[in-house]
């Protein structure tokens, strides 16, 4: 929820989960931001949509369970996870292949969506 002096933050995540620490670092920043009662939303673009693909077994490659953090987002009052529709389509994915319910946004609306926030953060 947005506090009295809160700003609207949009975290944009564009990279796949395993093989780098980008997602982990972005989520740490996101949870910190949410803890300070700022309104936080997440937008997954390009390979970022793989972050919440169902059925991931990160333990098989001794990798961290990033998807689990997404499942916990509601506890931190981060209710909005948005996914670009075309990014899903291009990767053979459907909203039902994802771990949590998402709002799908068409590519042509991404700029307008960003502009409705006070801060856009790269994840």
């Amino acid at each position: 929820m947005m506090g009295p002096t809160g700003k609207k933050f949009l975290f944009v995540m564009q990279r796949a989960p395993h093989g780098s620490c980008n997602a982990q670092e972005a989520l740490d920043l996101l949870l910190t931001t949410a803890a300070f009662e700022q309104a936080v939303s997440v937008l997954l673009l390009d390979d970022g949509v793989f972050l919440i693909k169902k059925g991931q077994q990160p333990d098989r490659i001794d990798s961290k369970d990033i998807a689990a953090v997404f499942l916990a987002l509601e506890l931190y009052d981060v209710p909005r996870v948005m996914v670009e529709w075309e990014s899903l389509q291009e990767r053979g994915l459907d909203p039902k292949d994802l771990l949590l319910p998402v709002e799908t946004i068409p590519r042509c609306r991404i700029g307008a969506l960003m502009a409705r926030h006070d801060r856009v953060v790269n994840g």
Partner: protein
Amino acid sequence: MLHIVNHAAFDSAAVDRLLSRIGAGHTLMLMENGVYMVKSGSTAAGRLERALADLTVCALAPDLAARGIMPAEVMTGVTLLDYEGFVDLTVDNAVIHSWR
């Protein structure tokens, strides 16, 4: 809103993806290797020119010069900015996104 791109993309899908995600009336700032996209005759420049009706395209002049792209080689319709102009742009736009 200001969109900053510091890498060049020449394949049509990548350029179209970028342009589709930029809202009407927004500003695109090209810097570092991103300035290669405004070289006239490039595939990216063709697409950027067609997008000029909807957005403002700026490029950082020192980055163009450093890469040997003379003002005459830059596609028409691009606003060339020095560092000061770039700073003004970041002050004038409340929302800024640096694209990966």
